[in-house]
Symmetry: C2
Subunit: 132 residues, 2 copies
């Protein structure tokens, strides 16, 4: 149970970088509900199909979407797993938020439907190095 590294593909593209672009974040949001062929996807964006296609490739390289050929179309679907890396990285900074911010954080999490309202925990300041 020690293998916690790269549970999915080889991340040719960085997750942090993949997610840095607003268009690509919207793409992930779109693909949350269902898989979609490229043309349908690109219909939601004010740029060419080819441009969207390239964004999809970046996301695929980061392991954030998977493609599947169906007839003449290529359907993409969300693959949220690599987001864990982001989540883990963020988790490191949890203990450096002051109480005011911790409160805001709880508010946010609750507002998003995550019912872990008793997060508080010990809050002992553990000296540790961040992942990267």
């Amino acid at each position: 149970m020690s293998k916690l590294e790269s549970t999915a593909s080889s991340p040719k593209h960085d997750v942090f970088q993949a997610v840095a672009d607003p268009t690509r974040r919207q793409l992930l949001g779109l693909l949350v509900d269902q898989e979609m062929p490229v043309t349908v996807i690109s219909g939601h964006f004010p740029m060419s199909r080819t441009a969207v296609s390239k964004h999809l490739r970046v996301l695929a390289d980061a392991g954030l979407v998977k493609e599947r050929k169906v007839g003449r179309e290529t359907r993409y679907r969300l693959e949220p797993e690599p987001l864990l890396e982001l989540k883990r990285w963020l988790a490191f900074y949890d203990r450096f938020w002051d109480n005011k911010l911790a409160a805001l954080q709880r508010y946010v999490e609750q507002a998003d439907g995550n019912d872990d309202s008793q997060v508080e925990a010990p809050l002992t300041v553990v000296k540790r190095e961040p992942a990267e």
Copy 2:
């Protein structure tokens, strides 16, 4: 209590983009423990002081660090608050992880000291649009 927007500065630079660069992530990691002047900071990196300085500016523009002049030096310190935006964005995808991944997620969170081990929740698939 409705104003949940931009609790800090005007984000001239995007948090997602600020955090996309590995050097800048390392910078945040460095500044976690204490505030530091530029020269000391840049001593930890294989690039010129000026380059580090520019990275610090990007972080500052995103509100992730704050600077403070002390004599002839400028000290930088971490300002983790804008990371909440990232956290909030990520939280949206929590409910789209399958059970296997949810388990891994719990493992990660626990390993990082966040004791919210009973996250499971209803897992009812709520149709909702992501933040961006």
